[in-house]
């Protein structure tokens, strides 16, 4: 089958000139709004246009390449220069270790001929869910990287086919919240049910009934577990202190939290 072709590939001249890159749809929630990490392209093609962070795959796994690109664009590092490791999840506020808590998963691969005008590029897109991260460090690889509300980004013409990749990533994110506990990836290690509800509201773009959401979340086995403690203060304009929870051990939600108004017209 592919054996003959592989042998042929050993001849550098015959080898099809295909570049493999990763592009990352990194999502976070800042000030209650779902935002995506975008970089501004400095050169042609699409100079000045916004694009998803990404780059070539080196001698590494695809997952590692995506994590590396995310680290380079944000200025954050998975574990400080591969030297220390402990405490990574303990100081999510610092730059070092902050990436340890992001959820990263493969989204889809885009490889239409002509999607890059210069040459054949096959891009493996990734989807990242991150808790609120500091602003990207200007000294990073990217000329200018910034978080942008997804509504704004969707209206903007992005470089290459990144508009479609972003749309696919958003749809995946919305669907994943239904049957996976990944909403916890958007909040800190300890969170209130209201914070979790804010995540769902931001991603789905609609408010959820506070009481029913509360009961539902607690009824799903392994979604969250109580820490025993509560917030130090109530709401800004009053209200009781909320109990704190941490992510449970469930990998899927049984039963799922279904999106309201999953319009029958979606068909």
């Amino acid at each position: 089958m592919d054996e003959q072709e592989f042998l042929a590939a050993y001849d550098p001249g015959d080898f099809p000139a295909v570049a493999v890159t990763v592009d990352v749809v990194a999502l976070t929630i800042r000030e209650g709004v779902l935002q995506v990490l975008l970089v501004e392209r400095g050169e042609a093609p699409f100079a000045g246009r916004l694009a998803l962070p990404g780059g070539f795959v080196g001698d590494e796994t695809l997952d590692a390449a995506a994590l590396r690109e995310l680290a380079e664009e944000t200025g954050l590092h998975p574990d400080a220069g591969a030297s220390r490791r402990a405490g990574a999840a303990d100081d999510p506020g610092t730059r070092n270790g902050a990436l340890a808590r992001v959820h990263l998963e493969q989204l889809k691969t885009y490889g239409d001929p002509g999607r890059d005008p210069r040459m054949r590029v096959v891009s493996v897109a990734y989807l990242a869910f991150a808790p609120s991260l500091p602003d990207p460090r200007p000294g990073g690889d990217a000329a200018g990287a910034a978080w942008l509300p997804v509504a704004t980004a969707a209206e903007t013409a992005l470089a290459f086919d990144h508009g479609r990749i972003l749309a696919d990533g958003l749809e995946r994110a919305r669907a994943k919240l239904e049957y996976s506990p990944l909403a916890t990836a958007f909040v800190g290690t300890e969170f209130t049910i209201a914070e979790l509800r804010a995540v769902y509201a931001a991603v789905w773009g609609e408010d959820l009934h506070a009481g029913n959401f509360h009961r539902k979340v607690l009824s799903v086995p392994g979604f969250v577990e109580s820490t025993g403690s509560t917030t130090a203060r109530g709401g800004e304009r009053g209200g009781p202190r909320a109990k704190l929870y941490r992510a449970g051990d469930a990998r899927v939600l049984h039963p799922p939290l279904l999106r309201p108004a999953s319009e029958d017209g979606v068909r």
Copy 2:
């Protein structure tokens, strides 16, 4: 960002030597058993081992490459040599046009360094659902291609990381039956509810309650629509003639058909 790297890529010497292939997990149901299309490798590495059909991506979309590979390995063709087109869905029994009814979707991309001992190969895996197809034509590209029950294939050590790809494909197929009408891709254009139930039973590996399944399928809007006619004969050992249905226009099932015993332990 990736601009400098792309410029560097123009120098053939600098270019990272990565090959891009597609591999297809093609599933069908024959004699009530879920089967997967496998080919036997003729040469090293993994000579004699079974592998998923696949090959290099040419100057075509990834989807087209997957469809082409599937066509080459099965001896079937989407529409006879790109000349005629009409009637493709009307004669599913013939070789020409039989591929027009297969559902093909991207599964995942596998690119670990070392997954191919010869060089860096990034493989975009596809998942195909097909109605019962004729045996692969021996004169095709593949040395030997054949349909094998997935249970058998899962016990066999496949070439490369194809065992994992197959496992991922099976899990995707099982999940997709829940919320998508893709079960209809495994049967003919006209089918009975019992045939549809047999698809679910084969893919999920467990029997379903006939009565409840019947009512459930008919209650999901757009899943199936009646043709008005019935089968010519009843069951082999008696029974009434069953009504015939065709696939409806729904793209997702609302509400979904949930797998029984989605063990809470899955977590």
